[in-house]
């Protein structure tokens, strides 16, 4: 396991922690945008090793958490349609909507199936030609290209019973929206690794330039994250605000050309609702006209009543980094992983779930 061991080397980690401590002269707030980073930081106990002057905030980087309640309600309504199979990535099944969840609908008889890729959902459609199969297209730029490929394949093969609900979100507009809101005081972004493989680090230049915020694209191992924190502190000390890549073994500045071309062929940007952030212009993806017929909303009316999050649920504030789970009145008291009130407690990459699981 050479490729992992070197990024978990305690001696290397110790040296980086010493360097971070030596550079920590004043309070610094850094936000990790990606849920996988949040979990990795908690799992490796990084918070317990950093000087108290460094605060790590978790941002809107969990695709399950940022899915708006109205979108969850649409998924639930879809599951209630006759002869319909709903295919979804795992964590979504547990997210509460206004009054139910996909998991509860499944217990009530809805045909909800957890898949590992869009192509698995496409296979379900091939094997069940008399039924409508819908894939819940949730996620960031990481998963969108494979969904685009499945959509292209569906059209090419003439599969008539496969659809998606486009509910994708794209990350850079959300980072800008966080900063434009003005309530968030942060000194640097730990930028997502998986997303950046697709979009490239150049995508964060507008954030760095316009808001003078240092951005470093990070890998997911403890040494990656510690090195990223050190790189951000170095920029802050030098008064710089540039985009750097720590995760060089996977990410470049321009991204994956082929994946981006595929995305552009199948999807176009649109305004999208984010939990906690409201509607952000050009932060979602919808099917282009050429593929629009594969959007299930051209077949079913999935309009849902006006939705409301559970009173007291702070998931929105937590996603914006203005609260931590410890500030939420529901956290641990009534909102727990087995009885979640909001998505941050549901998703394995949710901030509340990470606090609950790893925080003393």
């Amino acid at each position: 396991m050479k490729h992992l061991d070197e990024y978990r080397d305690p001696h290397l980690a110790g040296k980086l922690i010493d360097k971070i401590k030596a550079l920590s002269h004043r309070p610094v707030r850094l936000m990790e945008v990606c849920g996988t980073h949040t979990v990795s930081i908690f799992r490796s106990g990084i918070r317990s090793l950093l000087p108290p002057s460094i605060t790590l905030l978790s941002g809107p980087g969990c695709p399950v958490c940022v899915t708006a309640t109205e979108e969850i309600d649409k998924f639930i309504k879809l599951g209630q349609q006759k002869d319909t199979i709903v295919a979804t990535f795992g964590d979504l099944v547990r997210v509460p909507g206004s009054s139910s969840s996909l998991q509860k609908e499944r217990a009530d008889g809805a045909d909800i199936r957890v898949v590992y890729s869009t192509f698995d959902a496409l296979d379900i459609a091939r094997r069940n030609p008399s039924r409508t199969v819908v894939f819940l297209a949730v996620g960031f730029e990481t998963t969108a290209p494979t969904i685009a490929a499945a959509v292209k394949e569906t059209k090419k093969e003439g599969i008539g019973n496969f659809y998606i609900i486009p509910a994708h979100k794209i990350i850079p507009p959300a980072m800008e929206a966080l900063l434009a809101g003005g309530e968030l005081a942060i000194d640097g972004f730990i930028c997502p690794g998986h997303v950046s493989v697709i979009i490239g680090a150049d995508a964060y230049r507008p954030v760095a330039d316009k808001y003078h915020i240092p951005c470093v694209v990070a890998g997911f191992e403890p040494v990656d994250i510690l090195q990223t924190i050190y790189m951000l502190l170095s920029q802050i000390e030098e008064g710089k605000a540039i985009v750097e890549i720590q995760y060089r073994r996977a990410v470049n500045f321009t991204g994956n050309e082929k994946a981006l071309a595929l995305l552009s062929e199948v999807f176009e940007t649109c305004d999208a609702p984010w939990r906690g952030l409201g509607t952000i212009p050009d932060s979602g993806l919808r099917l282009r006209d050429n593929y629009r017929a594969l959007d299930i909303e051209t077949k079913f009316d999935l309009t849902v009543p006006r939705t409301q999050d559970h009173p007291g649920c702070s998931c929105g504030d937590i996603l914006r980094g203005v609260k931590t789970p410890l500030d939420c009145v529901l956290y641990r008291k009534v909102c727990t992983p087995s009885n979640p009130y909001g998505p941050c407690m549901v998703s394995t990459e949710g901030t509340c779930a990470a606090y609950y699981k790893y925080h003393d």
Binding site: V39, Q103, F140, P222, P340
Partner: protein, 336 residues
């Protein structure tokens, strides 16, 4: 949101399963045996100390690398008896078979059970067969129950962990859970993954012959090592501290877990045990275990502490500290 239906999470072996048992079954069936929440009940009949256990097997797929539902059903109950220090003797086997199951599959499963019982030295003494209409079950479900004898001076229970005890793990974790997960979803990896399903009664007998200072034995099946350690900490009202760098995970298992975003701490094991044993006997036990094929990778992964009763802590590879909680819900791959 309260649950008004049984959800898959209630069968995960993690927190939801525990809450279901504590809130629904225990109040109905309450007695001193169930209250202990151990792998087997221990009772004395006619002066003989017996362990009695049952478990049901609903694994999908029914054939997997390293075993099948039949051998798993034997190993599971043999191990549940062994985890009280018992010598397993007799098993019952109940089949619920879906109409249409190929006869060849059932024959293969029965053959596998025969071999597993022979290796464990147990007799399948009674059984039952039911066939249900297609769709009323999934291929075949198997229930096994078993009884075994415990030496009078052996007292092993999840409630017996004592501060100062060393935590011993018999080998690598997550082999069974990741194998089943990847088989079920048709995921393929370059390095072959294989279940660790195995009978542990011989290993336990050898450990008991070497030391009577074993306080707890537990096979970390559903819910994995993380959940089992929490169960022991809760039952014994002690704290537990483990050291991440000492917990063995096969490289191919680690790689599959990394790819899927799943923590190996919460994946099922079917041929591994955790022991809490007095510190002075721990090294001796490790030496004995290394001589048994099912304990050759045995190691000390931590210790029982008096602070923070009911909680499990981990010193991470890079020297950080964190809590290890129980599994919540089924382990699911990340989206991103």
């Amino acid at each position: 949101m309260k649950h008004d239906r049984i959800l898959l999470d209630h069968g995960s072996g993690g927190r939801a399963s525990h809450e279901l048992i504590a809130s629904l079954f225990l109040p109905q069936f309450d007695n001193e045996f169930l209250r202990e929440m151990n792998d087997s009940a221990v009772m004395t009949i006619g002066g003989t100390k017996l362990a009695f256990s049952t478990d049901s097997y609903v694994v999908d797929p029914i054939f997997f690398p390293g075993g099948d539902i039949g051998s798993l059903a034997i190993h599971g109950t043999v191990n549940d008896l062994a985890m009280r220090g018992a010598r397993p003797l007799y098993l019952s086997v109940g089949f619920i078979i879906e109409e249409g199951l190929p006869m060849a599959d059932l024959k293969a499963i029965a053959g596998s059970m025969k071999n597993a019982a022979a290796e464990a030295g147990v007799v399948i003494a009674t059984g039952d067969t039911k066939v249900v209409p297609k769709g009323a079950t999934d291929k075949v479900f198997i229930n096994t129950a078993g009884i075994g004898i415990i030496d009078p001076d052996v007292n092993i229970s999840g409630q017996n962990a004592r501060p100062g005890d060393k935590i011993i793990l018999s080998g690598t974790i997550a082999d069974h859970g990741i194998t089943i997960l990847t088989c079920r979803e048709g995921l393929r990896f370059d390095a072959p993954l294989k279940s660790d399903s195995a009978p542990l009664n011989t290993l336990v007998a050898e450990m008991l012959a070497a030391s009577r200072k074993i306080n707890v034995l537990r096979d970390p099946t559903r819910g994995g090592l993380g959940t089992s350690l929490n169960e022991i900490a809760g039952q014994s009202r002690v704290g537990i501290r483990v050291h991440e760098e000492t917990i063995p995970v096969r490289p191919e298992v680690q790689a599959a877990c990394e790819l899927l975003g799943i923590d190996p701490l919460y994946l099922a094991n079917e041929g591994k045990l955790i022991a809490c044993a007095a510190a002075q006997d721990a090294e001796k036990l490790i030496d004995i275990m290394h001589k048994n094929p099912y304990g050759r990778d045995a190691c000390i992964i931590g210790e029982v502490i008096s602070d923070h009763p009911g909680k499990v802590f981990m010193k991470t590879i890079i020297g950080g500290n964190r809590i290890v909680d129980m599994l919540t819900g089924e382990p699911l791959p990340r989206i991103c």
